[in-house]
């Protein structure tokens, strides 16, 4: 099979991939904290609201220099966080409403400012939204004698800054994200950390937006962190995984964009979304499909154990080692499956037209019936439920009683018979 490698990056396209990967990694790392602090939409808001900051900086300084724009955007980003909190407190509006009011107003203002100066600067609202990553290699600067694109330089710097911030303040960030009140009580002001984090978010947005556009910034601030959150339970591994997912999405997005000949930023966002979808469906612990399969397996296990217990009770009535047990034909698919399983794992075997428990099956059946009767006895002792109400509850629990729990139940009830006078099978 020959594979057409025309979508593989070549020459200066590697710079595009590098810029995208750097931007995605930086956004993913800082964004993970936004996701965990339930501030994802503040990242979204900031990435929109930096537009007027950039436009103002341009109008005041009259140039497209980096520093005024960076400062303007930082100011706008922090203003978003501050104004949102202020409106929330003063007007007692919900956080989502305050956020919506602030960022949409600021963005509208920014679009108007840009329209105003449109003839003097090449900065149209469209390229703020989806960026111009395709043009990254054209704008280069010389560092240590090597020509590298300006965007790559900036993005590397911001990635390093973000990583330093996260590594140096890891303990404080973790505590204040998990329990802000306690963090403040211990002397790490949650407010200070919040605004520090917002500063880094704004700086990351600024560095990233020019090359990759604000929509990719939104996608990358939220999606990799959320995906990683589905896949792991520790903060450090979440951060590493988020960065990895960001870089992967950048690379896959680039290939996809080249395949379809369309916007790189757009396809990278989609790739991040697909990563999330995949994790949401298939994550080993929390995936939707995974849980669904697990439930199905559980249902089959319960059906199998119910069959086994029923056979054991019959065996109890006439305890000869290889007696033929008569069973009704299976009534449901689940039951049929359960019988098939029992024969496959050699818990029962067929003997002249009926079934018989093998020693292994006998042992397992005894364990289930033992759990059932222990639980009935326990309920009877601890509640004043009448006898005819014990069975149903026990029937549910019997499948979940571990050997350990059974031992402790047995110790607690101190009985050899259940409340109905039937023997509790010994271990």
């Amino acid at each position: 099979m020959t594979f057409d490698l025309h979508i593989w990056p070549e020459g200066s396209e590697w710079w595009v991939v590098t810029a995208a990967a750097l931007a995605c990694a930086a956004c993913a790392v800082i964004g993970t904290f936004l996701v965990l602090r339930r501030l994802s939409l503040l990242g979204d808001a900031i990435s929109h609201a930096i537009l007027p900051g950039i436009a103002m900086a341009f109008i005041l300084s009259g140039s497209r220099d980096v520093w005024p724009m960076l400062l303007g955007a930082l100011a706008a980003g922090l203003a978003t966080a501050g104004l949102t909190a202020g409106i929330q407190r003063v007007a007692r509006l919900g956080s989502d409403a305050s956020l919506g009011v602030v960022f949409s107003s600021l963005f509208a203002f920014g679009v108007l400012l840009i329209t105003w100066v449109a003839d003097r600067v090449d900065l149209d609202p469209g390229c703020v939204l989806y960026g111009q990553i395709e043009f990254v290699p054209l704008d280069t600067t010389t560092v240590l004698g090597i020509d590298i694109p300006r965007a790559v330089l900036w993005l590397s710097m911001i990635l390093v800054a973000d990583l330093l911030f996260v590594i140096v303040l890891f303990k404080e960030l973790r505590l204040s994200s998990f329990d802000p009140a306690m963090s403040t009580a211990m002397g790490f002001g949650a407010g200070v950390i919040h605004y520090l984090l917002m500063t880094f978010v704004a700086a990351t947005c600024v560095a990233a937006f020019e090359s990759v556009g604000s929509i990719l910034v939104v996608a990358m601030l939220v999606a990799p962190g959320a995906t990683a959150h589905l896949l792991t339970d520790r903060l450090s591994s979440t951060l590493v995984l988020a960065a990895f997912l960001g870089v992967t999405a950048a690379f896959l997005g680039f290939l996809g964009a080249k395949w379809f000949d369309t916007s790189v930023a757009g396809v990278i966002s989609v790739a991040a979304g697909v990563q999330f979808l995949t994790a949401a469906l298939l994550a080993p612990r929390h995936g939707i499909v995974t849980r669904w399969v697990r439930r199905g397996l559980l249902a089959i296990r319960i059906a199998r154990e119910d069959e086994l217990a029923a056979l054991y009770r019959q065996h109890e009535a006439s305890p000869e080692p290889s007696a033929t047990l008569t069973v009704l034909p299976p009534s449901t698919l689940r039951q049929r499956l359960a019988r098939r399983l029992l024969r496959l794992d050699q818990s029962v075997r067929r003997i002249n037209g009926g079934l018989s428990l093998t020693p292994a099956g006998l042992e397992q059946g005894a364990a289930i019936v033992r759990a059932h009767r222990l639980w009935e006895t326990y309920l009877a002792q601890k509640t004043d439920l009448p006898l005819d109400h014990l069975h149903e509850a026990s029937h549910r629990v019997e499948h979940f009683v571990s050997a350990e729990l059974a031992k402790r139940l047995s110790k607690a009830v101190q009985a050899t018979q259940d409340p109905h006078g039937r023997p509790i099978p010994p271990v």
């Binding site: 919900g94 849980r291 005819d388 109400h389 549910r396 979940f400 402790r408």
Partner: protein, 272 residues
């Protein structure tokens, strides 16, 4: 059924049954699990549901209302499934379930009690407003009618919610901790209202957390802690031995079994 007969013996002859709980088990994510509640709550009485925090009191109330799905068993209200008799039930939810910043005033909130009777599309009319005003008067909150609901104190809010339940003109009232965060005077006034309801033949079921006042306020009690400890007339059931069982700590083995059931949804939940 033998169990029903036991109950019939302990309740006054001829009393109707308001709520029949039959082998009710409730299990939901991370919330307390109720094992096997089985009781008949008589009509025309003041009934308390008592037990420690996390013992499943609110959960039971919500399952009676059909707001929480029960895992097994059955519940009937006046002999019918809840959905057929909703219009007969008045409900006072816990305070946290409400958005206190919502732009409604006290009169609006009480008027909401009439919505169930109005049904789709119809607007509350003059008669509904009159009834709402009467109910507001019964709880002594008429002078606050035009205040925004969030501007009241906790006790005043509870009184307004009681008035809203009254405006439903129900025969059965379910109240989730109506006395929480209420000062003593308000509590006394609210109890007076509950007694008036009872004397008018209504059934009032209250989730209650104050053991001191159970005997003074209520006729019938259901003691709950994960499972039903006892149910019956207060003078018979509200004994120190039953209370000890109710508050004597959780049964660790029962907790562990509940944990195992819940873990069954997790990958590493040990299968036996």
């Amino acid at each position: 059924m033998s169990h029903a007969m036991v109950d019939a013996a302990t309740t006054p002859v001829g009393a109707r049954i308001a709520i029949e709980l039959h082998d009710v088990c409730v299990a939901y994510d991370r919330k307390p699990v109720l094992w096997d509640v089985d009781a008949s709550l008589p009509a025309g009485q003041l009934i308390a549901i008592v037990g420690p925090n996390g013992g499943g009191k609110s959960t039971l109330l919500k399952s009676i209302l059909g707001l929480v799905r029960i895992a097994s068993g059955s519940i009937s209200v006046f002999g019918k499934p809840v959905r057929d008799v909703r219009r007969l039930i008045g409900y006072v939810p816990q305070r946290e379930s409400v958005d206190w910043d919502f732009p409604v005033n006290v009169a609006d909130v009480v008027l909401m009690g009439r919505y169930g009777r109005l049904g789709w599309l119809r607007r509350p009319g003059r008669e509904d407003r009159r009834i709402a005003a009467e109910c507001l008067d019964m709880v002594g909150m008429t002078s606050f009618a035009s205040r925004q609901i969030g501007q009241l104190s906790g006790g005043q809010q509870q009184r307004v919610f009681l008035a809203r339940a009254l405006a439903q003109e129900s025969t059965l009232y379910l109240m989730d901790e109506p006395f929480a965060g209420v000062d003593a005077a308000t509590e006394a006034a609210m109890v007076e209202v509950l007694r008036t309801l009872r004397n008018a033949g209504k059934t009032v079921i209250v989730v209650h957390h104050d053991l001191q006042s159970v005997q003074a306020y209520f006729d019938h009690v259901l003691l709950l802690n994960q499972r039903q400890i006892a149910a019956g007339p207060v003078r018979e059931v509200f004994t120190s031995s039953n209370l000890q069982k109710t508050y004597g700590g959780r049964l660790t083995l029962m907790d562990e079994a509940a944990q195992a059931l819940r873990l069954s949804d997790q990958p590493h939940g040990r299968p036996r």
